[in-house]
């Protein structure tokens, strides 16, 4: 009995020694923590963020690891938890990641409410994190410190930009239907005055609940009023409803925008050529040749996941890690040095150059994309467009 126990102890000891040796030999991994809305109301959107994370990790590790100042490379490892789409869980998880798991770096969770809930936590622990999938005018109120937002799809900039794009394309009348959720309503509140300023008549302005199941009565009214533009401030679930019923009723308006949804891979699979001509919110396109890394990201994503990355959320998620990667290469893992590097650096991303002013990216312009021949093309503004706007030719 005793010998068995002694043997077992020896074996355990040997195994422990081996694993320590093994770890030292392979260089300690850099651990990056995040929470993700894997279940709950945001779950359907989370893969558009977590897939780019996985792709980035795979690419970094294939290249020998994450580079630190001085050229040393260490492999990357993720520590992640499900926050069940609940911002309170997000806060708890990040506190755990920082204090108990003692991760080296942080990546962002999914969604605006999570980002907003997290800002004070990062401030308290002085732990820098580059955000990604948050978009709201509320972000502008976050005090600069340890969080940054690379998006330029913020409603107070999108409203005037869209009005300008519409005016530039000869639009004189518009019908608006908007989801009652905050992002759509923020956008609506900034679009209405911008349209007025450009002299674009609003022939209909209606809001609908997120759980809407039928839009026939609104869309029949729009069809009968025949405005130049239909601005549907959709979220992904109602974006499918809108396009299906707009097609059924044969809306003739040449300018059709559906706020969030059309850039999702499944959308184009469901609607095929009927999706051509639909405009959506995004500031990235794989077709942009000057952003050489963009096309490479797109191809690698399609090869790994068998579907296209979302032009908004997937691009932003990947960008946030590119920014982190470049900042770490310059400043290492020390939190203060890293904060300084992110706050003052200029980064080369799949969406071109990014630089932060306070919490916001002040380089990437607010843009709009259009589906043309099944591809996502940037059509606004002039400075980054990959194709010209084309009036929608039927459904």
């Amino acid at each position: 009995m005793k010998t068995t126990r002694r043997l077992a102890c020896a074996a355990l000891g040997a195994a422990a020694a081996l694993s320590v040796a093994g770890a030292a030999w392979a260089a300690d991994p850099i651990r990056i923590g995040y929470s993700m809305a894997r279940t709950g109301i945001f779950a359907a959107a989370a893969p558009s963020q977590e897939n780019p994370y996985e792709l980035w990790k795979e690419q970094v590790n294939a290249a020998g690891g994450l580079e630190l100042p001085g050229g040393e490379k260490r492999p990357v490892e993720f520590v992640s938890y499900d926050d069940q789409s609940n911002p309170a869980n997000t806060v708890r998880i990040y506190e755990k990641l920082i204090t108990q798991d003692k991760v080296d770096l942080l990546a962002a969770p999914w969604g605006t409410p999570m980002h907003l809930a997290l800002a004070p936590v990062l401030q308290r622990y002085k732990f820098p994190m580059v955000g990604n999938t948050a978009a709201s005018v509320q972000l502008r109120k976050v005090a600069p410190g340890y969080i940054w937002f690379p998006t330029s799809a913020i409603p107070d900039a999108m409203g005037p930009a869209l009005a300008e794009m519409m005016a530039a394309n000869g639009i004189t009348s518009a019908a608006i239907i908007a989801n009652e959720l905050p992002y759509a309503q923020e956008f609506r509140s900034f679009l209405l005055p911008a349209l007025k300023e450009k002299g674009i008549e609003v022939v209909m302005d209606e809001s609908y609940p997120p759980d809407i199941k039928d839009m026939t009565s609104s869309l029949v009214q729009i069809r009968d009023k025949a405005p130049d533009a239909v601005i549907a401030m959709t979220y992904p679930s109602d974006a499918f409803l809108f396009a299906g019923q707009a097609k059924e009723l044969g809306l003739k308006s040449p300018f059709v925008l559906s706020l969030i949804g059309p850039t999702i891979d499944a959308y184009r699979k469901v609607f095929g050529s009927a999706a051509d001509g639909i405009i959506a919110s995004a500031h990235w396109s794989p077709e942009a040749t000057e952003w050489t890394r963009g096309k490479a990201f797109f191809d690698a994503y399609v090869a790994k996941f068998g579907e296209e990355p979302d032009a908004l959320d997937s691009a932003l998620s990947y960008m946030s890690l590119e920014i982190l990667q470049q900042a770490v290469a310059k400043a290492g893992l020390d939190h203060e040095a890293l904060r300084e590097a992110i706050a003052t650096g200029t980064f080369d991303t799949i969406n071109g150059e990014v630089k932060f002013d306070g919490v916001q990216n002040d380089v990437t312009p607010t843009g709009f994309v259009q589906i043309q021949d099944g591809k996502i093309e940037l059509v606004w503004p002039e400075s980054i467009k990959t194709s010209d706007y084309q009036p929608k030719q039927g459904w």
Partner: protein, 295 residues
């Protein structure tokens, strides 16, 4: 006003209403005969939707064939749930008394497991496919092929189910079990035969509804819950366990939703539906279409 009288709005109302009726029919059958509150009902719709999606995408099998596969798959699941869990619970009178309340929690667990298993297997990315999306115009009413198919299938199954209940001997047995469980046994209805058949049928109907939904909506592991809610609203408005009234309530809800929104604005959609729901619970808790309360 023109819009209100147009066939277009009627078509939209019938498409929604028939789908609500179909989804509620499955739930109501299971509740009526087994007194099980199937909170996972919407997740069966989700399984039906994924079945149609994968068959179409991987094997180019159209939804008209997937109906049978989805129905079989969900029926099998129903059989497994019955054999594995409820047969023994229902056979024991002591446990059977509590099974109604317990089933809610049990099915909640099943729902969470189904959602997460699906998310693990297929990721939670949205899916979708393009099928029968040609628009047909008849008498000034535009109808997308897949919505027309949805109306036909959902309406057809509801009518067939009602006729079956009215005219087939098994339908009589079923109604007997729903109305007077103990008395039905005394007059010779074999509960051990009726119950598994009904749970399979109820689950299969949800699977078929999933195939219909998959043609027009995006498919995700978490798409089912709203269908569970709407199905419960429908069967409570109609009267729990009252099959015919449930179908009528589903159809009415589609009409109320579509015409109510047309008369007011889309912002009132939820207020209308849940307002009606609360009103029914307050004024006629036995359901609008249920005849005088039985002693």
């Amino acid at each position: 006003m023109d819009t209100l009288l147009s066939g277009q709005l009627l078509f939209a109302a019938l498409v929604s209403g028939s789908l609500y009726a179909l989804i509620a029919l499955g739930l109501n059958l299971v509740y009526g005969t087994l007194r099980l509150l199937n909170i996972a009902h919407g997740d069966l719709v989700m399984i039906g939707a994924y079945t149609a999606f994968w068959l179409f995408t991987l094997l180019s099998i159209p939804p008209v064939v997937s109906f049978f596969v989805a129905a079989a798959l969900c029926a099998l699941l129903g059989w497994a749930v019955y054999e594995g869990m409820f047969r023994r619970l229902l056979a024991n009178p002591g446990l059977a008394k509590r099974v109604e309340a317990n089933s809610l929690i049990l099915f909640y667990g099943i729902s969470v497991i189904l959602q997460n298993l699906t998310a693990l297997a297929f990721t939670s990315s949205s899916r979708g496919y393009q099928y029968l999306d040609t628009v047909i115009t008849w008498q000034g009413v535009s109808m997308t092929g897949n919505r027309l198919l949805s109306l036909g299938v959902a309406g057809g199954i509801c009518i067939a189910a009602l006729l079956f209940l009215r005219f087939h001997l098994f339908g009589w047995e079923l109604r007997a079990v729903i109305q007077r469980r103990e008395a039905a046994q005394i007059v010779g209805v074999n509960l051990n035969r009726v119950q598994p058949i009904i749970i399979c049928a109820g689950f299969a109907i949800a699977g078929i509804a999933g195939v219909l939904v998959s043609m027009t909506e995006q498919i995700t592991p978490f798409m089912g819950f709203p269908f569970t809610i709407i199905a419960f609203v429908v069967i409570i408005i109609g009267g729990l366990g009252n099959i015919g009234a449930g179908v009528l309530a589903g159809l009415s809800l589609g009409l109320i939703e579509t015409y109510g929104v047309a008369l007011t604005s889309p912002g009132y959609r939820s207020i209308l539906i849940y307002g009606l729901f609360v009103a029914v619970l307050l004024i006629r808790p036995e359901g609008i279409f249920t005849k005088a309360v039985r002693s």
